[in-house]
């Protein structure tokens, strides 16, 4: 029996390609697998590791797959039954041949009252077909359901692990991380693994079961005809394997061409001013036309290859069935096989040969799952930030002392060298320094976002390393230079730092950060979504929301890492005044380049080249020659200093 193949669904390039993980990959993302991943397919030992990793993913969920493989074998077995019932009807009931088959079947038929009686009650056979199909359906259902359950459970676990790991990577991992590549590992690579588990893995078994069962049943009826029935399988399989490997390569090529097309489009759209300003529309149309045409022609070429493949392989498959029919008829005439057997062979041959292409395709894609496994594992096994046991619940309100602290990111490039200072409890320290002076690093050390290389730091008398990192960050509030707001509402963003904060607390800290009125002026107020799906906040607004967020929690130490840079001077001073009233007794660090921001601090540190070059109050510092006084003199220039200004012009 031929299987009507639904004519397109599986055959358009798009449908084939949907099974490749490329699709989600945007051009521009790094498509380079890591060196390890590249070799993964090549070396046996690495393959073994990859396989172990892959099996490791299935930990605890194997039962689903074992179950669905068993169900799959039952389903395949049951699908073999209806043709046999047809054979029974054709040969024994209608054809009056002696009953063949296992003893149990014979006894069962005797139980009904023999072949004669069964012939009168043909509906029993019909029911048999229905029952086999329904049971087959039930097994298929469980197969599908369990595979999905297992694959989705595993996919969820991998995704969760990835997310968790990414959050727990050391700080500098994220400073250097390539976002695009990481996201790809988390999404399309996990998807490749999921897809392999959800369909391909069990499908391999299903096809193998079909091969085994049908060949066993067929050869029990006629070895000769069985040999005919499998004769073209190797050809179909090998040809498919070659073609699908080639197609994978060709898809890469079309992806590149599509990327070029998208680049032209993207550049045209983002450069629309330039295009129009130079009146280059015609030129752009030609440029796009070229890429558009190239892409079209390449896809057509690839599609033509596939057309030949499907055409020829379908032809071979039909030939296989034809061969069975042709030889089967002669065997039937010579009495070697019965008519029913011929019909069974006709059906089984179709069931057997068509899935061969699918099998070849899955095998050609195995390496893809391997590469993805490696890429995912690289994230899952990357080194995490360690947080040893340490004190928790201790108060950090007290003095802070740096003793001879050295720090660098790259050896040989000292960022802080021999830094020492001590602050009084509750003091406000302002820090002035140029790029690379180490001012931010100094404060990052305090939160242990990085660990110092030598020297000691004491907070409230406790050595920094004896305090749990989590607790440190809990009690030290920091506003980063470029604060990140989450795509949640403004309210939720502020509440992030303290999930127990009441709305009142949130309004309060927003007022302190001088952003309450701004938020109120939004259409949806505090329920305004931040980011792409909501309003785009200006740099200054972002900074102020971030300040409000930091203020909401009860910190012992507060750090403003140049976090007022995008706020205008007036608001800046208002915020500082509010802070002074509110955060009495909290040690505060303020990094800024604006003298007006710095000048009211209890003490000002001037940092140059990783060292404290000067410190003192505003009055002290302006009284002596140095970086601070130089900046001050510019800052304080006013209309009256017209002469200076005129000179400068």
């Amino acid at each position: 029996m031929l299987i009507f193949l639904s004519r397109s669904a599986s055959r358009s390039l798009g449908a084939i390609k949907a099974c490749w993980a490329f699709k989600g990959r945007k051009p521009g993302f790094s498509l380079q697998p890591t060196a390890f991943a590249k070799n993964a397919g090549a070396k046996g030992g690495k393959r073994l590791i990859t396989l172990k990793r892959f099996i490791g993913f299935m930990e605890g969920k194997k039962k689903y797959f074992v179950g669905s493989i068993i169900m799959s074998s039952l389903a395949v077995l049951l699908s073999m039954v209806p043709p046999l019932i047809v054979k029974l009807v054709v040969d024994t009931i209608l054809g009056k041949n002696p009953l063949e088959g296992p003893e149990a079947l014979k006894r069962a038929i005797m139980g009904i009252g023999g072949i004669e009686r069964l012939g009168e009650m043909l509906w029993i056979c019909s029911l048999g077909i229905l029952a086999a199909t329904v049971l087959n359906g039930v097994c298929s259902f469980f197969k599908g359901r369990w595979t999905a359950q297992g694959a989705e459970d595993i996919a969820k676990r991998i995704k969760d692990d990835m997310y968790d790991r990414l959050q727990r990577m050391p700080y500098d991992y994220h400073v250097k991380a390539q976002t695009g590549d990481l996201i790809q590992r988390c999404t399309s690579d996990v998807e490749t693994i999921r897809r392999f588990m959800a369909s391909q893995m069990v499908e391999i078994f299903r096809i193998l079961f079909i091969m085994v069962f049908s060949i066993i049943i067929m050869s029990s009826m006629s070895v000769k005809l069985t040999l005919v029935a499998v004769s073209l399988i190797p050809i179909v399989f090998a040809a498919s394997l070659i073609v699908f490997k080639k197609v994978a390569k060709a898809f890469k090529e079309t992806d590149e061409k599509e990327g070029e097309l998208q680049t032209v489009l993207q550049e045209n759209l983002s450069g629309v001013r330039v295009v129009k300003a130079f009146g280059r529309q015609a030129h752009e149309v030609l440029k796009f036309e070229e890429k558009n045409r190239d892409f079209r022609d390449l896809v057509i070429k690839l599609n033509n290859l596939m057309a030949w493949f499907w055409g020829l392989s379908d032809g071979i498959c039909a030939m296989q069935i034809g061969a069975v029919l042709a030889v089967g008829v002669t065997l039937a005439i010579s009495g070697e096989i019965s008519l029913g057997t011929l019909m069974v062979f006709n059906t089984y041959t179709g069931m057997l040969i068509y899935p061969m292409r699918q099998l070849a395709r899955i095998i050609s894609e195995l390496s893809r799952a391997g590469v993805s496994t490696v890429r995912v594992s690289e994230v899952l096994f990357a080194k995490l930030e360690e947080d040893m046991d340490g004190s928790e619940g201790v108060s950090l309100a007290g003095s802070i002392e740096f003793k001879n602290v050295d720090f660098w990111y790259d050896k040989g490039n000292p960022v802080l060298s021999g830094l020492s200072f001590k602050t009084e409890p509750g003091e406000t320290i302002a820090i002035l320094g140029g790029t690379g002076s180490g001012k931010s690093s100094l404060l990052h050390l305090l939160l242990r976002l990085y660990d110092l290389k030598s020297g000691e730091v004491f907070i409230n008398g406790m050595e920094l390393r004896t305090i749990k990192k989590k607790w440190l960050r809990e009690k030290i509030g920091i506003v980063l230079q470029e604060p990140f707001l989450y795509s949640k509402t403004v309210m939720e963003n502020i509440r992030m730092a303290d999930s127990g904060a009441s709305d009142g607390d949130i309004f309060e800290s927003a007022k302190t950060a001088c952003v309450h009125d701004v938020i109120k002026s939004f259409e949806k107020g505090y329920d305004t979504m931040v980011g792409e799906k909501g309003v785009t906040l200006s740099g200054g607004q972002k900074q102020r929301v971030a300040i409000a967020r930091t203020l909401i929690k009860n910190s012992d130490i507060l750090i403003f890492d140049d976090s007022l840079s995008a706020v205008d001077t007036e608001t800046d001073s208002r915020i500082r005044a509010e802070l002074r009233d509110r955060r009495k007794g909290v040690t505060t660090f303020i990094i800024s380049q604006r003298i007006t921001t710095l000048m009211e601090a209890d003490r000002i540190f001037v940092m140059e080249k990783g060292k404290l070059s000067d410190s003192g109050t505003h009055e002290e510092l302006i009284a002596r020659e140095g970086l601070y006084s130089r900046i001050w003199s510019i800052q304080s220039m006013s209309g009256e200093d017209e002469k200076d200004l005129a000179e400068a012009l």
């Binding site: 397109s8 997310y163 990414l166 558009n292 896809v299 002035l432 989450y486």
Partner: protein, 616 residues
């Protein structure tokens, strides 16, 4: 844009597809060809069971091999015919798909070149990209491959029905009896499958978003000690995704067994009734086998039909959005009589263009954006040919609007812009824009070499001209230092060059065509001193002898302008040369001295590339 989240519960809208096909009517013949091919293919598919009937009735049962070679030849011919049909239909469908996608993209792109800025103001680039890439693809895909399934399924159902009734009407009824149930179940489930997959996709894009945020916000997360809570939120999301995926898989896993069981009712019925008929010698064994085969397979075309309908339905949104793009009308269009004389952007007629002197007059200009925001009211300005004008003022004061009106990126809501005494709407856009030199502070380059980019403004420029232009703005220094010189690839968006280098290339590009009017539209103020020095030199070279407009944040770049206009709320509040305005100690003086201080401070602290946002 999350177009994925649109509502899809709409019914199939045939009109929409007719309209889309109308646009693509050039493919009419190919679609008809496809229909013919699919009918031919359905013919062979329907005939194979009949061939096995022949084998059984004429040879196996008669026990004679008379004419057997003929039978084998006929069978082989049918196989070859079928294979040929398959080869051809895949070829043609693929070709049709590619050509349609190509055509939609071609038209879309040409349309996009025509649309005015007001369109780009309100339409995100990402939205347009999706229409031109995935939506165009989807339409081509659905039309080409969907019609394949449609034609084939209809043809095979008809053919099989005809053959069945020809062979035996009673058994035919047995097979057809399950049709209604099959159809209902298929339509219902195909819809459910699509819907459940849509839910999965929605969660999937949310998860991607969550990763994005998790990675970009990782540092902030650390400082807020939010790891656990973020993880809980993520786990909730991934749980929803899992549930949705399992649900989608379950729907599919239920569907096929039901369809197959329904099919097996037909098989059972044929087996029973056929057996009885054989017993009465009313049909042959061959006929019996034909019916069994048909009964086993007939659910497939019905399933295909159901799928095609739900796919057309789900691609509807893509169709609507793409049509919307293709149907958009540009706000700024040249009058037909203008196009007649001067040509349009695709077919310019430069031979008819009058030369530009460069005198510009804004006469009683009113302008408001589509969003309703009024920017200019009764704006008047006369600029002599060759004069250098600078526009300064706060963000949103209307500086860029004035320049955009000048470039005719927008047209005045009322009033006129006169160039050399003629209202510019009486000339074509391409005429004006071909005479413009235009530089943005954040320069936009195209992929290609440096030379390609400079030549952008004058496509037929010789290498000497390119080099001369680069020399004029002193871009040659850095270009010559590059290994490949003018042949250096600038990368996507010019990404392989520094901002300063990109800027210089864009200056060279702006002057190579020797434009009479020059516009320097500074968008932001982030720039380092090194770049500033280079650019200052370039600006001076560029302005020489041209009517020029500079929208400036960096006030140091405009000191040599003939006239500086301080704009506030769409009005000119101060005007004069740098010296005059400094002496006046008004708005300009304040702006200038503040910026001067910022600069000095940054210089000392070495934090030169730091963006300073005005007025948060």
């Amino acid at each position: 844009m999350d177009y994925e989240e649109q509502d899809y519960s709409k019914q199939l809208d045939i009109k929409l597809w007719v309209k889309i096909l109308g646009i693509l009517k050039m493919f009419k013949n190919e679609i008809i060809m496809l229909a013919v091919m699919m009918a031919a293919l359905a013919g062979t598919d329907a005939i194979f069971p009949v061939l096995s009937k022949l084998a059984i009735d004429e040879f196996a049962l008669k026990g004679s091999l008379d004419g057997y070679p003929w039978f084998i030849a006929a069978y082989a011919a049918t196989v070859i015919w079928q294979a040929g049909c398959i080869l051809l239909f895949i070829r043609s469908a693929g070709r049709l798909e590619s050509k349609m996608v190509y055509e939609i993209r071609r038209r879309g792109f040409t349309k996009l070149q025509d649309l005015s800025f007001s369109y780009y103001d309100k339409t995100p680039v990402g939205w347009i990209m999706s229409r031109m890439t995935s939506d165009a693809q989807r339409i081509g895909d659905v039309i080409a491959w969907g019609s394949i399934d449609l034609f084939w399924a209809v043809a095979i159902i008809i053919l099989v029905a005809v053959i069945m009734f020809f062979l035996d009407w009673r058994l035919a009824l047995c097979v057809l009896s399950v049709f209604p149930a099959l159809a209902v179940v298929s339509v219902y489930f195909q819809r459910q499958i699509l819907k459940s997959h849509r839910v999965v996709r929605k969660f999937n894009s949310k998860i991607t978003g969550a990763y994005n945020e998790g990675i970009n916000g990782a540092r902030t997360t650390k400082t807020l000690v939010r790891e656990d809570k973020n993880f809980d939120e993520f786990a909730e999301l991934s749980y929803s995704m899992k549930t949705a995926s399992v649900r989608a898989a379950t729907v599919s896993a239920v569907y096929l067994p039901i369809v197959m069981s329904l099919g097996s009712i037909a098989v059972g019925a044929v087996l029973w009734a056929g057996g009885v008929l054989i017993g009465q010698n009313l049909i042959t064994f061959g006929t019996y086998s034909v019916f069994i085969q048909y009964a086993v397979q007939i659910f497939d075309p019905i399933q295909s039909l159901a799928r095609v309908f739900s796919e057309f339905q789900s691609a509807q949104a893509a169709g609507e959005r793409t049509l919307a793009l293709l149907d958009t009308q540009s706000d700024i269009e040249d009058a037909p009589e203008v196009v007649e004389i001067y040509g349009d952007s695709i077919n310019p007629k430069p031979e008819n263009w009058p030369a530009i002197q460069g005198e510009i007059v804004f006469k009683d200009v009113f302008f408001k954006y589509k969003t309703g925001e009024k920017v200019l009211e009764n704006f008047n300005l006369t600029v002599k040919a060759g004069e250098k004008i600078a526009l300064v003022g706060e963000t949103g004061a209307g500086k860029s609007t004035i320049v955009n009106l000048l470039c005719r990126f927008y047209e005045p809501t009322s009033g006129q812009v006169l160039i050399d005494g003629t209202d510019y709407t009486k000339r074509s856009q391409i005429w004006l824009q071909s005479n413009l030199g235009y530089v943005l502070q954040s320069p936009h380059l195209f992929s290609g070499t440096i030379a390609d980019n400079i030549r952008y403004a004058k496509l037929d420029a010789t290498d000497e001209e390119v080099e001369q232009a680069a020399k004029t703005v002193r871009a040659d220094e850095f270009i010559n230092r590059l290994e490949k010189g003018y042949k250096t690839e600038v990368g996507e968006g010019g990404g392989r060059l520094s901002t300063g280098q990109r800027q210089l290339v864009s200056f060279a590009r702006a002057i190579i065509a020797n434009p009479r009017i020059f516009v320097l539209d500074e968008a932001t103020s982030s720039i380092d001193t090194e770049t500033e020095r280079l650019i200052q030199q370039a600006v001076d070279a560029v302005l020489e002898g041209r009517t020029s407009f500079i929208v400036a944040h960096r006030l140091s770049t405009i000191r040599s302008c003939d006239r500086i206009l301080v704009i506030s709320d769409g009005k000119i509040v101060e005007a004069g040369s740098h010296r005059q305005l400094m002496r006046k100690r008004g708005e300009y003086f304040n702006l200038y001295s503040n910026q001067f201080k910022e600069d000095q401070r940054s210089r000392i602290l070495g934090d030169l590339a730091k963006p300073v946002e005005q007025n948060a």
